[in-house]
């Protein structure tokens, strides 16, 4: 039973032959309907309910996208942002999980550092742009760092909550068997915190993109942030939305991928 449908008669769907694949394709139909409806409304509203200067229109955005794809602009810039984000995401997520394991291992450490980590987390990173630029330059580094930082905190706090929520009984069971700290981390705490880690990853990945794009907007000559900034500088709303749209598609696809990975990992449910 993969369903969480509180109201549906439990399970039955789950047992039908091909139940899952039908379910999946049905979801895609709904998604398509939703997207088409939204775009249609947008197209209608543009010029009628609102000035296209502000909201552009799906057709204009699509035209811009085609143009960019033809010229190779989109692929080029998207790939750069993608690389930066993935690098940052991997670093930030790894560091986040590890740091949470360390901090979660001792209540004293956790409670000591908690306000400081929160404080740094709550800093508006834009305000530190000059520091970022000075330390990391204007190449890929500051984008990767900002993506990593954005991902780190979300993964860290989520994982930390997960580590704290671990069922003591399982930990105790392994401790009486003589398991050391590391094994308990590996065999109990990490798997038990998995739903939390995944929530952190799913929260973090899009923010990694946001971080990389924000850094690109700060200083760059390539990437989605650059495209956006460039378009914004020329008050080219269609260009801004086209760049953001490409970003959204990538983010959603990657998060869908994370969801699949999660489902596979949680096959024991």
């Amino acid at each position: 039973m993969t369903t969480n449908d509180v109201a549906a008669p439990a399970g039955r769907t789950g047992f039908k032959p091909h139940g899952r694949s039908w379910r999946v394709s049905r979801i895609w139909v709904y998604r398509l309907l939703f997207a088409v409806g939204f775009l249609a409304f947008w197209q209608f509203a543009s010029g009628r309910l609102a000035d296209p200067f502000w909201i552009s229109s799906p057709s204009a955005i699509f035209a811009r996208l085609t143009e960019w794809v033809r010229a190779g602009t989109l692929q080029h810039n998207l790939l750069i942002t993608f690389k930066e984000t993935i690098a940052g995401f991997l670093m930030g997520a790894t560091a986040g999980v590890l740091a949470a394991c360390v901090a979660g291992a001792s209540d004293t450490i956790r409670r000591t550092i908690d306000p400081f980590v929160t404080a740094i987390y709550g800093l508006p990173k834009v305000a530190l742009a000059p520091l970022f630029i000075m330390w990391f330059g204007i190449g890929m580094a500051p984008k990767i760092v900002l993506a990593a930082v954005s991902v780190f905190f979300l993964v860290f706090f989520s994982t930390l909550s997960g580590v704290r929520e671990v069922d003591r009984k399982m930990v105790d069971a392994l401790r009486t068997m003589g398991a050391d700290r590391l094994r308990i981390q590996r065999c109990v705490i990490l798997p038990a915190a998995m739903p939390w880690i995944f929530t952190g990853l799913k929260l973090g990945l899009p923010y990694g993109f946001v971080g990389a794009v924000a850094a690109e907007m700060m200083a760059s000559n390539a990437g989605i942030g650059f495209l956006t900034q460039n378009a914004a500088g020329q008050l080219d709303t269609a260009g801004v939305f086209a760049a953001l749209f490409a970003l959204m598609v990538v983010t959603s696809l990657l998060n869908e991928g994370l969801g699949r990975l999660e489902a596979w990992i949680f096959r024991w449910r």
């Binding site: 200067f53 502000w54 742009a129 000059p130 520091l131 630029i133 000075m134 330390w135 990391f136 330059g137 204007i138 190449g139 907007m217 700060m218 200083a219 760059s220 000559n221 650059f226 900034q229 460039n230 378009a231 914004a232 500088g233 020329q234 008050l235 080219d236 269609a238 260009g239």
Partner: protein
């Protein structure tokens, strides 16, 4: 020619006409002809450009002179070695409806216009920023007290046009093309045009310049020389053939903006480019005085600290 071109990254605070000669030099391929393969990086603000320079990720940048002086006052060593704009290229506009409301008309003298600005909401990019100082300076000409007679509200530079268009502010002053655009589209009217030299005390004002760390002109005399030469040529070309430069700039930097607009903006602003290129003591003093007037603690900064005129005298 291309294989010989030296790559060079130059930081700027935005694709605006504050760096007009630089944009022109790049768009017209003059720099390439000089043997420089220049790429521009938009850092969004002077602070960020400074940070990039002091962090070592770029060697040359376009900066507003007052930022350079301020940085020098705080112990940072940066020198201007080639002028970009020698007019205060920040023109003030207010929306058409605001103009109607307060009764400002094109023919009025500047003082009269300023005197009528009472009660308007005007955008600045930050307290103490160049835009803020310019408003205060000009409003004072009209006998207004900027702190009581108008509302100066902080709006990020690149949001000023949007804020005006959506009616959140009555006016702003900034470099082209955002203000030219608002005027061309009939959204706004000019209220003060320092770029045209109409503001007393701000004529021939050294506004922006190319900067580097001290010694750059000695160490990289070759590159710096080519740059300076290229800029001088581009400035000249701006005077001679502004429409052509405008066309090339539109192609290079403003692909989504109306060609007409860019061309007319270039024509309009061409006089701000430094022709002939000078970085004189007098220009420096004027800058310093303007800053001191608004309470900046920059008294200790000398001409030698922030200006390296050796390429120009050569």
């Amino acid at each position: 020619q291309a294989p010989k071109a030296v790559p060079l990254t130059i930081g700027i605070g935005g694709y605006t006409f504050a760096y007009l000669p630089l944009l022109a030099a790049k768009a017209t391929n003059i720099l390439l002809e000089e043997g420089l393969d220049v790429s521009l990086v938009n850092t969004g603000s002077g602070t960020n450009t400074l940070a990039a320079m002091l962090g070592g990720s770029i060697e040359v940048s376009g900066l507003v002179m007052s930022d350079v002086i301020l940085a020098a006052a705080k112990g940072q060593k940066i020198q201007a070695f080639a002028p970009l704009m020698s007019q205060y290229a920040s023109d003030a506009i207010i929306s058409v409806s605001a103009a109607k409301k307060v009764g400002i008309e094109p023919g009025m003298p500047l003082k009269e216009r300023m005197a009528r600005m009472k009660g308007l909401v005007l955008a600045v990019s930050g307290r103490g920023s160049g835009i803020d100082k310019l408003w205060r300076y000009m409003l004072a000409l009209g006998g207004l007290d900027p702190d009581r007679d108008v509302t100066l509200t902080v709006v990020k530079l690149d949001q000023m046009y949007s804020a005006l268009k959506s009616g959140q502010i009555d006016g702003f002053n900034t470099t082209a093309p955002a203000n030219n655009r608002a005027v061309d589209e009939g959204l706004a009217v000019w209220v003060a045009r320092p770029s045209q030299g109409e503001v007393p005390g701000l004529e021939n004002f050294l506004y922006t310049a190319l900067c580097a760390r001290p010694g750059y002109t000695a160490d990289k005399a070759d590159v710096a020389g080519k740059l300076t030469r290229g800029l001088a040529r581009a400035s000249q070309m701006l005077q001679d053939n502004p429409k052509e430069v405008g066309r090339l700039m539109q192609k290079e930097f403003f692909g989504q903006t109306d060609l007409q607009l860019i061309e007319s903006a270039v024509v309009d602003q061409r006089k701000t480019a430094a022709v002939p290129p000078t970085l004189s003591q007098q220009q420096f003093d004027q800058n310093l005085e303007f800053m001191v007037r608004f309470g900046h603690d920059v008294k200790g900064v000398t001409y030698r600290d922030v200006i390296d005129p050796r390429l120009l005298s050569a």
